[in-house]
Symmetry: C2
Subunit: 494 residues, 2 copies
């Protein structure tokens, strides 16, 4: 013990040591062992932005907190980047009566074409993976005698291939008892006098999700989630209504979906078929494509109907009705894929029409801007220009898809001009250790808007795709370097 | 001891732990103590580029390895940035027969105007600091009877205020015995038949530094360092020759200068005065200014007479005779300062004449290039353009000096246009955690040329100066942020 007290390092070769960081800006506790000094991760993590976890006695240090995926082999009808891994259902949104996602922005709830297209394209990507092994419907007998009249007088009749309900006072129920998450109804609302309920069992008890005629608004109480179905063009037409009950239950009741107990109907509704399914990719793909057809305006574009400040202090507000080249590109990519899967020629016509706005300058309300006289298709048509990189590349991919799929010469010209721009402006986004998100710093005369790692990963995925569809050595060089940035590589100094 | 063996952590709370870095790219040895993981500095240092030293049991961690100085209060005749701390004598060069530094480039020994101007301006800055307390000559009696004839027949005579030596066969010596580092001679070489030796005592014994007529070449053996003095315009004219003996001894003999024992002369030389001094700022300022007058060409510029590859793989070779806006700017700054100190009107005329080349495009052999239609004065007139930041700002400072000192309207216009460019292109050099050295990555479509910390410090010093002479909030913002980059600050991500 005498020796131990005099020579504690004899049994413990580590000694605490004070570390002065940058001339006293921080003082931290390090460890000295032999000639080596050890720095605590609690210093490294915020100072350098680093990540770590510990598992089975090993520390895993990570330079980034993003997920890099293999996105090789791009085709206009194939998997779109890493979109097979995207779940818009988990974003901050809700689904309207026609199962189109509506964003919960801080500034309100709005349809956002870019989000809707992520929803559509991601389900296309998922469909490609599961092929014929998914989207399998469990069909329920929809004959008159299966519907139980549980309230009011009996007012049901056979109507061709389906059943006809009449009058809000007569309530019917079809027993389902399925744990499949999607409920799908082919039906026609003959007018606004109807209710359709899905009675679900959840970890928080029985809940009802109720569709009724409405502008698309929705409301909620402890037991009922009311979803308005905008009738408009659908009124008295046969349509498909489906719900992702799992997502509804989670978003609206904060509970976990267990099963669909029954479908309840009252009012002036014709029901042609009832099914449930584990997946619903095809219906979602079609639903989004149909939404695009419905919403495309006279300029072939999908405006965002809310004022939007892209970068406070750097850009002016974009007034409601602004267009996005990224939305156009994603829309074309979705429409091409939907056409390839579903064959609706209207989808291809819509995609062609979507090209127009690429040639309209931002100053005239379009999405075309310039960097150093080179055309850039803008995700955000801001003043001054923002040149958001990922949005520009999404816009290019739409052009590529239509050029390839439709041998479209107009798309080809737009693509080639834009691709040439891309090769020339990529250096402006290269920070030597990461990429920048946009070029707002140039017009605003300030610091670059550095991409968070998830966006850096998006850039890498996009460049990987561009590599697979071009022989550009510039694109390859940037891809390879930007990928390595994510794992600590930095370029040399002069 | 039983307990000790079972619970070693009882006496040593540190445990080794394996750290996997970036999915197995590196495996390092960390330390775990409680919830904290410690990383070895031997990992941090190369991974992040960090610096540290240990002193008195404290570790000093540094984000950069540069020196940041207070350079506030810029005036056209004041201290030039941090140049009072620059010692061109320590650079890789030698000093020609007229004490002008000649760079030892990998590709040969060449006069380099930029280095010569660092030499001149740094001595001006040092002179400002020591004022009348420096540049004090210790004068030696130069009368005929002080010169000892130690070889050949006697051939010395009084010649006005000096002494006249004649014939290479007659050798004379004047005893000095001074440890002052500069030897200064006012003399005239009547023709090329002469030798002047400085006999010095060094830590490696007695050495001789010998001046003789020559093109400027120099040679060396174990005991003698031969320096050629180009006669040209000086022949048979009274000139001042001086040597920094300490620097000569160090560079040529790898030894330390101890004292000057004697000056030896033979040949057709008139000597008017002999002195030594501890400093020689004024003679150096004048010498460099006179060199500028001598070398300024018909375009008012100082060409570099060697081929130069600024950035292999990114720019084409600049052919011998290329001009540099940085050289022009430094030259103007030196000439203005020399004029203010010495009053020679020729210096101011030369400075005015130096403006011409600022308006000549690189494509026509000048230094004017453009970024996005904005004029940039180029340190290196490369194809494609390089837009080296520090060189551009040095070029601007010359313009500022002449605008202020000479109320020069042409300089003012050039300055204001260039300053406007500077405010607009600074964002392109901002990497979010450090600055870039140039913009070669843009035209070359590749990664940025990140400034090493010493150049980053130069940028910070330059911006500090620009802040002191302008009210630009842009300049101040960049200065403040770039300064903080040097101590670990990084801008946020999107």
């Amino acid at each position: 013990m005498y020796i131990l007290l005099l020579y504690p390092s004899f049994v413990c070769s580590y000694e605490p040591i004070v570390v002065d960081v940058n001339e006293g800006r921080q003082i931290i506790d390090g460890i000295k062992k032999g000639d080596e000094i050890y720095f605590p991760f609690s210093f490294i993590k915020p100072y350098y932005e680093a990540y770590s976890s510990e598992k089975n006695g090993v520390v895993y240090f990570k330079h980034n907190n993003a997920i890099f995926r293999d996105v090789a082999g791009y085709t206009p009808t194939g998997n779109y980047l890493n979109f097979d891994k995207i779940a818009v259902e988990n974003w901050d949104n809700y689904f309207d009566g026609h199962s189109i996602p509506v964003n919960n922005f801080r500034w309100g709830q709005h349809y956002y074409p870019i989000s809707i297209l992520h929803y559509g394209i991601s389900h296309h990507a998922q469909k490609l993976k599961c092929g014929h092994n998914c989207d399998i419907d469990s069909n329920y007998d929809n004959s008159v005698d299966k519907w139980i009249n549980y309230s009011g007088q009996d007012n049901i009749s056979a109507n061709g291939e389906g059943v006809r309900f009449t009058g809000l006072d007569s309530s019917y129920m079809l027993k389902i008892n399925s744990s499949e998450k999607y409920i799908n109804l082919d039906l026609a609302f003959r007018n606004a006098n109807y209710r359709v309920y899905f009675e679900v069992e959840t970890t928080d008890g029985i809940k009802h999700i109720q569709l009724n005629a409405g502008s698309g608004s929705h409301s909620l109480n402890d037991k009922y989630y009311y979803v308005g179905v905008p009738l408009k063009t659908f009124e008295n037409r046969r349509i498909t209504i489906f719900r992702d009950l799992q997502t509804d239950v989670k978003k609206m009741f904060g509970a976990t979906y267990k099963s669909l107990l029954s479908v309840k109907v009252r009012g002036d509704v014709d029901v042609f078929s009832v099914s449930t399914s584990k997946t619903n990719h095809t219906r979602i793909i079609k639903r989004v494509a149909d939404w695009l057809l419905e919403k495309q305006d006279s300029l072939g574009a999908w405006p965002s109907e809310f004022d939007h400040m892209f970068y406070s202090g750097r850009t002016e507000v974009m007034k409601a009705g602004w267009y996005s080249a990224m939305a156009q590109g994603l829309a074309i990519s979705h429409l091409v894929r939907a056409h390839s899967l579903l064959g609706d020629e209207g989808y291809l016509d819509s995609a062609r029409s979507a090209l127009q706005i690429y040639s309209v300058p931002v100053s005239s309300g379009g999405v075309l801007d310039y960097y150093d006289s080179r055309p850039v298709y803008e995700e955000y048509p801001t003043t001054p220009s923002s040149h958001v990189l990922n949005g520009f590349i999404f816009a290019l991919l739409g052009l590529y898809d239509l050029q390839e799929y439709d041998s479209n010469i107009y798309a080809r010209d737009l693509y080639e001009e834009g691709f040439n721009t891309l090769e020339n402006i990529l250096p402006l986004y290269d920070m030597g250790n990461r990429s920048a998100y946009d070029l707002t710093h140039i017009s605003s005369k300030t610091y670059p808007n550095i991409a968070r790692w998830s966006y850096h990963a998006t850039h890498v995925h996009q460049l990987k795709v561009m590599m697979s569809i071009s022989k550009s050595t510039v694109i390859k060089e940037f891809h390879d370097r930007w990928y390595e940035y994510a794992f600590g590589f930095k370029v040399k100094t002069n």
